[in-house]
Amino acid sequence: MRVQLLSIGWVFCLLAHAPAMAAERALSVTIYADDLALVQDRRDIEIKGGRQRIEFQDVSAQIRPETASLTAADISIVEQNFDFDLLTPAKLMEKAVGHEVTIVRVNPATGAETREAALVLATNGGVVLKIGQRIEVLRDDGLPVRVIFDKVPENLRARPTLSVTVIGGRAGTRPATLSYLTPGLGWRADYVALYNEADGKIDVQGWVTLTNSSGAAYDNAQTLLVAGSPTQVDGGARQPNYYRGSQPRGTLQQAGTESGSRERLGDYYLYPLAELTTIANLQTKQVSFLDVHGVPAEHGYEFRNHWLGTSETPQSAKSIYSFSTSAHAGLGDQLPAGVLRFYMRDKRGDPQFIGESRIDHTPMGSTLSLATGDAFDVKVRAVVDKRTRLSAFDWQSEMRYELTNALPRPVTVKLLQEGLWGDSRITAESQKSTRRSADTAEWAVAVPANGKASLTATFETRY
């Protein structure tokens, strides 16, 4: 059935254009993470002996023509062209300058047709024709006149077209492979995590999401997804962020060290789709790649205060969910970069959305800590109580953090004070802190149910 359908498709193509024969087709599409794909198009092509032009009309409209290559037995490539001169009525008329066309005048009263041959002299602004020895402007009087052209000029096409001129050694049909790179095809991962509050577990489903805006459809293609980007677009790695206050919150708490069974290409993981698939233009397609149930997950709160951050009104702490991707106590898979959406069942048992977070390419065995949003009931107010200059380059800052919890259960808030670089010291604190890094001090503050907690700390800094 599929073969028959394909051949019908090809007959149409042959009727319309295709100077060379092409029949049974096997498409393979390899999609990289950053809007790049490698398309390999294998089909039987009828090679005539000698010089011949082969056209490929159904390639991506965004093809990078410099990457195209045609390989087949016993041919040599003369040249490759990518034509983007498109066939429009205006171009048709423009290319007819100096050539004869047939004009058909229609009598508006009787409908009678009169045919004449006309030479197109110019098409600037309007069409100037030479009919016999007369010069006329086409439809100057507004009466209906049809213009019939004999043929479509050689290099005008409905769609941008790749053409390859080859010299065939021996005549005959043989398989040829056209491969090229194209932007416009991309993929990413989308995850659905259902958090079960009662037993602290999540069910995670992973989907790869393919998008195609390349302008072409890929019928029954064998599809391979590569979690990685082989080229560096716009010149290189992410710029390091030197402004300390605005570093985004990292989601990867502990990078994993486990290897999985997934296929790799160099350092990239490969996700082949199990079945042939058709990627239509402008289609968004999702295929499942992960389905894990009952993974232990922890729910916590986090509040980050930048240096000398003081707030008039209490600020919500972030709601954090963390879990592992290790094989024994976690998802047991590598996670390609994407967005993880959290759901939770409401009192009626319907899943409701509670926030999402982006994750980076994550190796197996990692610990992820994802912020889904702000907690309505857990808030922190950080206040700079006092700033004293001890000497020219020595300041003492007294900070107070007021934590409130309107939930009917006790919570623990991970409180982070950032910006402690240099030889900053904590000279006094109401609760012992741990120093996560030279920059950040951390307190785990327990806040009772429907209650308050307060934390004070005194810092000695150079600024």
Binding site: M93, L282, T404
Partner: protein, 546 residues
């Protein structure tokens, strides 16, 4: 496309594989997949989330920044084998990557959202290189001539076709002519989600489709009515939710969620809503046209395709704006905890229509004690001309103040009683307030209470000595002590008022001498004053630099 779509016009339909082989548009799914249309939703649930970046204030109907989780239960009858299950009439703002389908027995092979919608331009595009019929009608006799032909190009809006007579361009001759297409297309009229599914045996299943969709929003709208003496207020609130989509949700279970949820902003998948057949022609100037400068078009690679893609993004802008506003009865929403968020459930099923805003009662509380507090925020050691003070209404969100429930963010309108009726006094925004938080309603400026500040730069040390030392000031360094500042607070009201003066000090600075008691709020010095009716209070202070 964005016109309101009534659910229920689709009936169950089965298209067999052979039907697709004949169609001139090749089916996107593998050839053996049967096309199954899911029934209209039998159960609907809509949960509306606020715009993630808005922390207070009301919604704007022209620009709904929130989103919704839509869950639809539909019945499907699947034959054995692979089928393409189609869900028609999903919200136009659907985020296709967020779609979840549950209830299907075996594996879902893939989920698709087709980005190309049925339009005249899409018909031409699909018919490219394929046989069509050209229809030419004689204006005089009304007879139409049919001519078989092939479309050779539809590039850049012009249509070139070929018949047995030769090559012609559509609608360039001045004769009424059009194209007639045969066969069916699998292009959908509205955004459609389809699922490729494999079933071992024919089954009937209730399938639930959930997805996130843009163009929804909600906020709380509070109405505070002050009592005659100004010491208590009644507080009522509405949940105002709006749907900016072209799709309505009849008798849906409706919820709203308060609290900020994280949304990763990401480009929206392009949608080609198509357009008319433009039939651009060659230059058609005549000898009677005014002269024009010659313009030569430079070839631009693939511009047509790019422009078309850009055009697809303007979809939202073309939509008609919201019109209908519905007020339902006084049955209140029910609140429950959803993780760290608050979920409010509309008690009965309700219809969330397309382009509609709807209001449901959130709360009604009466006799909430309030304290009006006037205040000003001044930079220390600076002269400030007489300016009106700010008025706040302060209360606590707890049971003793007749509150003690989560208050979602929104807008509050404060009304005051007058002659048995009420008049609007001020409108301001409120943020999310948890239980036991201090509530402050901004009431704007009061021209009756004015504040002026003067710095006495003469530095008369004898006068400075008269100011008492602020308790707790240990290290007074006379060299660093600044001039005496004088703040006058005047009250033209016939009642005594509370006044709070807060000072902004430079780094390391502190108030060392003052003739009124000094407090601290959020690490900044504050003077809490009582201003008698029709009186003036003068405050003097001196600060020390760090």
């Amino acid at each position: 496309m964005r016109a309101a779509i009534k659910r229920g016009r689709h009936s169950m339909r089965l298209v067999t594989a052979s039907g697709f082989a004949l169609a001139w548009v090749l089916a996107a799914a593998p050839a053996e997949a049967a096309d199954i249309l899911a029934s209209i939703p039998s159960d609907l649930s809509v949960t509306v989330y606020r715009a993630p970046l808005r922390s207070s204030g009301s919604i704007t109907l022209d620009d709904l920044g929130g989103f919704a989780l839509v869950s639809e239960t539909r019945t499907v009858r699947l034959p054995a084998g692979v089928s393409r299950l189609r869900f028609e009439g999903v919200a136009d703002g659907i985020d296709p990557a967020s779609a979840i389908v549950t209830g299907l027995p075996d594996g879902v092979i893939e989920k698709n959202r087709e980005g190309k919608l049925l339009s005249p331009a899409a018909l031409i595009d699909a018919a490219l290189g394929k046989p069509v019929t050209l229809l030419r009608t004689d204006k005089k006799t009304g007879k139409s001539a049919r001519l078989a032909g092939t479309i050779r190009s539809d590039a850049e809006g012009g249509v070139v076709f070929e018949t047995s007579e030769g090559i012609e361009a559509l609608r360039c001759s001045g004769l009424p002519e059009t194209l007639s297409f045969s066969g069916v297309t699998d292009l959908a009229a509205t955004p459609t989600l389809s699922v490729l599914v494999r079933s071992a045996e024919p089954i009937t299943a209730a399938v639930t489709l959930s997805y996130l969709a843009r163009d929804f929003d909600w906020a709380a709208d509070y109405v505070a009515t002050l009592s005659a003496d100004g010491n208590t207020m009644d507080l009522g609130a509405w949940v105002t939710l709006a749907n900016g989509n072209g799709v309505g949700f009849p008798s849906a279970r409706t919820q709203v969620v308060a609290g900020r949820v994280n949304r990763e902003n990401r480009a929206v998948e392009p949608l080609d809503i198509g357009g008319p057949i433009l039939a651009q022609c060659w230059p058609r100037g005549s000898t009677s046209d005014p002269p024009q400068y010659l313009q030569i078009d430079l070839a631009s690679p693939l511009s047509a395709a790019r422009e078309k893609m850009a055009m697809t993004q303007t979809l939202a802008a073309a939509a008609p704006r919201l019109t209908e506003i519905t007020l339902t009865g006084r049955k209140k929403v029910e609140q429950e905890q959803l993780g760290d968020l608050k979920l409010y459930r509309v008690p009965d099923r309700t219809t969330v229509s397309s382009r509609q805003s709807k209001q449901v009662r959130l709360l009604d509380r009466s006799s909430i004690p309030i304290t009006p507090v006037y205040g000003a925020d001044l930079a220390a050691d600076e002269n400030a001309a007489s300016a009106p003070a700010h008025l706040l209404l302060r209360t606590m969100n707890d049971a003793s103040h007749h509150l003690g429930l989560p208050l979602p963010s929104g807008r509050v309108a404060v009304f005051a009683a007058r002659d048995g009726g009420t008049l609007l006094q001020h409108e301001s925004n409120v943020r999310d307030l948890a239980v036991d938080e201090e509530v402050e309603i901004d009431m704007g400026e009061s021209s009756d209470v004015r504040v002026a500040s003067q710095s006495d730069q003469t530095g008369d040390s004898a006068r400075a000595e008269t100011l008492p030392l602020v308790p707790g000031t240990l290290r007074l360094r006379p060299a660093n002590v600044g001039a005496v500042n004088r703040v006058d607070v005047s009250n033209a009201r016939a009642t005594e008022i509370h006044f709070e003066l807060r000072l902004r000090l430079p780094e390391g600075g502190r108030v060392v001498r003052a003739d009124h008691p000094l407090g601290t709020k959020n690490g900044r010095p504050i003077f809490r004053l009582s201003i008698p009716a029709n009186g003036t209070v003068t405050l003097r202070y001196q600060s020390q630099h760090g």
